[in-house]
């Protein structure tokens, strides 16, 4: 009964939504003077950042990114708060059987490569696709590989939270320095350099590197908390 009700409601909702969406001419710009033209010209012209998405994420709408990093930070905090079991330490990691030597050796060899790839992705965030979030996630998957293949692999909780806090403080204080320096929060106070150079874009690469470290540490902590959740 409830199913039929929900299904019919959903059908009405879907048809209405689709009908409204069909009024959008797919593949054509619908509005006349939106904000995107400004972003597309100002990013290479003023900020000297090749990847416009990066310049939107970090500079034009950098405040969103600050919020987003906070959301991840909160998710980690919330997860460890919800699963917190008291004064004793974390439980055992859930394993069916230990990994073979081939997997162990292989992941040991691959681990530095994955970390390097992650660092590459977030260092080149302003030039190529990718950036802090993607690089951070890649680093976290590297740690995930190690955690899955080595049963007794430990990630130091202290180091993780120190990295996380320092990266967050870097982001927020770059914003505050901008406030002192140029009058607005997150002001781009460094020289912007030349388009498509590694050292271009002023503070944008610095912020993205901080975001990369922060996201990597947070996601690693999140996976670590979840993996050790066996009572």
């Amino acid at each position: 009964m409830k199913k039929i009700l929900v299904l019919s409601l959903l059908a009405v909702f879907g048809v209405y939504l689709a009908e409204v969406l069909f009024k959008i001419d797919f593949g054509h710009q619908f509005f006349l003077n939106g904000v995107k033209d400004f972003y597309l010209t100002a990013s290479p012209d003023k900020l000297k950042v090749a990847n416009v998405v990066t310049s939107i994420v970090v500079n034009f709408r950098g405040f969103d990114t600050l919020g987003e990093v906070t959301v991840l930070f909160l998710a980690t905090t919330a997860m460890s708060s919800i699963l917190y079991k008291g004064r004793h330490k974390l439980g055992e990691r859930a394993v069916l059987f230990s990994s073979s030597r081939i997997v162990m050796t292989g992941s040991k060899l691959l681990f530095p490569a994955i970390i390097l790839l992650g660092v590459y992705v977030f260092v080149h965030g302003h030039l190529t696709p990718g950036g802090g979030f993607q690089g951070g996630v890649i680093i976290a998957t590297g740690f995930l590989l190690m955690l899955l293949s080595y049963q007794d692999y430990q990630v130091s909780h202290v180091v993780l939270s120190v990295v996380e806090s320092l990266a967050g403080i870097t982001f927020a204080s770059i914003g505050l320095i901008g406030l002192l320096n140029g009058g607005t929060f997150l002001h781009n106070f460094l020289h912007t350099g030349v388009l498509n150079n590694l050292l271009s874009g002023g503070v944008i690469p610095i912020i993205y590197i901080a975001v990369g470290f922060k996201v990597g540490a947070e996601l690693t902590g999140l996976i670590y908390t979840a993996l050790n959740e066996k009572d």
């Binding site: 990847n51 859930a94 950036g131 998957t141 999140l222 066996k230």
Partner: protein, 79 residues
């Protein structure tokens, strides 16, 4: 993609359903690439395919695997 979505909703084995959501994310990231959004495709591939699936699998590991199992009351404590 719609097929994968239906599959992961209908499937009673939760592990398979989670793999279904991973497939959704994979197809989604390919679609993002077609729609000229490489940044988003990269993020979706990393977060949607790898991390979300892993977190779901860890949860299933800590709870039950089959949807039918959830009706059984006699299941002993997981300790």
């Amino acid at each position: 993609m719609t097929g994968a979505a239906v599959y992961s909703v209908v499937q009673r084995d939760l592990l398979y359903a989670v793999i279904g959501t991973g497939v959704i994310s994979l197809i989604l990231s390919i679609l993002f690439l077609f729609l000229q959004a490489p940044d988003v495709a990269l993020t979706e591939a990393a977060i949607g395919v790898a991390l979300t699936t892993i977190i779901f699998i860890i949860t299933i590991r800590n709870t039950v695997r089959y949807e039918e199992d959830s009706n059984r009351h006699s299941k002993p404590a997981s300790k």
